[in-house]
């Protein structure tokens, strides 16, 4: 197990190194001179100011050294300063991170909490009209644009029924964004759970247990639960990254003050250091999460060789 974890961590490290390299190189996509583009707020930056900025960003170095320069800064926790307001990028990101986590995990909870039981039921009653309806719902769920769903929920719950606030700092204000995020991924989770469970139900040990005459609820509880847990972990592993991606969009529908909203503001202001920091942090979160899920998976499923 330890070796497995070590190996997984090493792989994650390599992933992070490569992603940070790509993030570092993004700056060269900017059309024109990136430094001139960055020196916003200053109506007429002097050549010295431009040179100082270039030097600070390491853009006066050869390409391969730029990466080491960048990593040198990143490893000491210095993601640069925001062009607007000159706050440290890391501090700005960390301030928003809890909000994004709150949204993503609430969304995940809704998606898993509703999607799994639905998928389970559909698999159990495979072929019934309920199964068919669920599959239709699943297709609808993966097809609905989450930003539009968000607007429709606002229209329904806030405007028409007046149940929930549109925006604000009230705890209830997380409900609509979490629901928006949750419902779209609930469909995918239901679909994945269904196919996973159909496989589980056809496995020998379930059939044996049933043949032994064990009560159905006991069979389900004792024998289907562990594989079900495994599929939860697998599914979360698949969905988590996409859910985080969805959160970027949903945050902007509901003015939810998380990383996604910060990112769009940063893009609108061409605040490149902030955008770079955002992508790097986001990538890191996803990598860490996938490592954690892999470990959980290995721990849950004895069939996986951990050597």
């Amino acid at each position: 197990m330890t070796r497995f974890i070590m190996r997984r961590l090493l792989a994650a490290l390599v992933t992070l190194l490569i992603s940070s390299f790509l993030v570092c190189m993004l700056i060269h996509l900017i059309p024109g001179d990136p430094v001139a583009m960055m020196m916003a707020q200053n109506s007429a930056p002097s050549p010295e100011q431009l040179a100082a900025m270039r030097h600070m960003l390491g853009l006066d170095l050869p390409l391969w050294q730029q990466y080491f320069h960048y990593m040198g800064r990143v490893l000491t926790g210095d993601l640069g300063r925001s062009i607007f307001g000159s706050e440290p990028v890391l501090a700005l990101l960390m301030e928003r991170l809890p909000n994004t986590f709150a949204l993503a995990f609430s969304g995940l909870a809704i998606a898993v909490g509703l999607g799994m039981p639905l998928g389970f039921l559909a698999a159990y009653h495979k072929g019934s009209w309920a199964d068919a309806a669920l599959m239709a719902f699943a297709v609808a769920g993966v097809s609905v644009p989450n930003f539009w769903l968000g607007l429709m929920l606002v229209l329904l719950f806030s405007m028409t029924l007046g149940w929930l606030p549109v925006a604000g700092e009230d705890w209830r204000s997380i409900i609509l964004p979490a629901l928006t995020l949750g419902v779209t991924y609930m469909a995918i989770i239901a679909r994945m759970t269904r196919s996973a469970m159909i496989e589980v139900f056809s496995e020998d040990f379930i059939r044996t247990a049933r043949a032994k005459g064990l009560p159905e609820s006991l069979v389900m509880f004792r024998h289907a639960l562990r594989p079900a847990m495994i599929s939860v972990v697998t599914i979360i592993g698949v969905v988590f990254g996409y859910l985080m991606g969805g959160a970027i969009v949903v945050e902007n529908v509901f003015s939810w003050n998380g990383l996604g909203r910060l990112a769009i503001q940063a893009i609108n202001y061409r605040d490149y250091p902030l955008i770079q920091g955002f992508i790097l942090l986001f990538a890191t979160i996803i990598v860490i999460m996938s490592v954690l899920l892999d470990i959980a998976y290995a721990w849950l499923d004895p069939r996986i060789s951990v050597a």
Binding site: V142, N146, I264, S290
Partner: protein
């Protein structure tokens, strides 16, 4: 069409032989129904896009076709927007942008993805391995993140959004291609072709590609829906199409400022995206079951 019909016939026969119970049959009907429904809607959207100038009752960009924020009615079926432009006409013309964005983005993703995937599978060795490792790495990250990062640095506009969405999908196409080519490569006909002395490019193009094509059509159809969704999201976030383009995502983005007074501004374009994306999903799902029932790939 006949090839499809043939393909459709085969598994149906085998199912009856297996003495399929009714619910499996139901599933099959549902599947082919999804192909039918999805295909018809796709065709409908394509026709709407082609004949937009004839179908649209008004010029989509003309300000003051009617009163501002007019309620949907006989003259303006979907109402008018904040400029008094006919929303129906804008939704109709929006189909053109959506298909255009989808084709370009899928084109970029498919061409680059197939090239990378096929090269990696065919070359194998450390090079192929490395290539796929990088692709796997990019695949870990949500495509929205990649697209967002690219648009942020390239500059937000429709062209860059299409490029970004296309690039963000490369890992998806590359992985599928890699898998398919790898399994095809091991088949005897490839060796045979090489023994006969066919060059690598020739083997790739003449022998592998035709076998790889059917699964790629499925993947492209599913990828199309993902591309449309991502591009609409970028436009919604203000990073894609710019006004007054009648692009559906952008229409939602400006329309939401009027959501209290004129909710119809966000209904029409939203349903248009939803239905189009669902049509391509259904179509792709149906195709997959017909062409390649074994293959299970993620749709998004």
């Amino acid at each position: 069409m006949s090839a499809l019909a043939q393909a459709a016939g085969k598994p149906a026969a085998s199912l009856t032989v297996a003495g399929a119970p009714r619910r499996v049959l139901l599933r099959r009907i549902l599947r082919s129904r999804s192909l039918l429904i999805g295909g018809s809607i796709v065709l409908f959207v394509v026709l709407v896009a082609i004949f937009a100038p004839m179908l649209a009752p008004f010029d989509p960009d003309r300000i003051g076709s009617g009163r501002r924020l007019a309620v949907p009615g006989a003259k303006f079926l979907l109402g008018t927007d904040e400029f008094g432009r006919d929303i129906l006409s804008r939704v109709i013309f929006g189909a053109r942008y959506t298909l255009y964005i989808g084709v370009v983005a899928v084109g970029i993703g498919l061409v680059c993805g197939v090239a990378i995937g096929a090269t990696a599978a065919y070359a194998g060795g450390w090079f192929g391995n490395l290539l796929m490792r990088i692709i796997d790495l990019l695949y870990t990250f949500p495509d929205v993140l990649i697209a967002l990062g690219l648009v942020a640095f390239l500059g937000p506009n429709l062209t860059n959004a299409m490029i970004a969405v296309g690039i963000s999908a490369i890992p998806y196409y590359a992985r599928v291609t890699y898998g398919v080519v790898l399994s095809e490569r091991q088949k005897p006909y490839v060796d045979a072709a090489q023994v006969v002395g066919a060059g690598h490019v020739r083997v790739l193009l003449r022998h592998l590609l035709p076998n790889v094509l059917p699964p790629m059509i499925v993947v492209a159809s599913l990828g199309f829906s993902a591309a449309v969704l991502s591009a609409a999201a970028l436009s919604f976030l203000g990073l894609g199409a710019q006004p007054p383009t009648p692009e559906w995502g952008l229409m939602l983005s400006t329309g939401r400022n009027y959501i209290t007074r004129a909710p119809w501004l966000v209904v029409g374009p939203g349903i248009a995206i939803f239905v189009t994306v669902m049509a391509f999903n259904l179509f792709g799902d149906g195709l997959r079951d017909l062409l390649d029932p074994r293959q299970r790939q993620r749709t998004h």
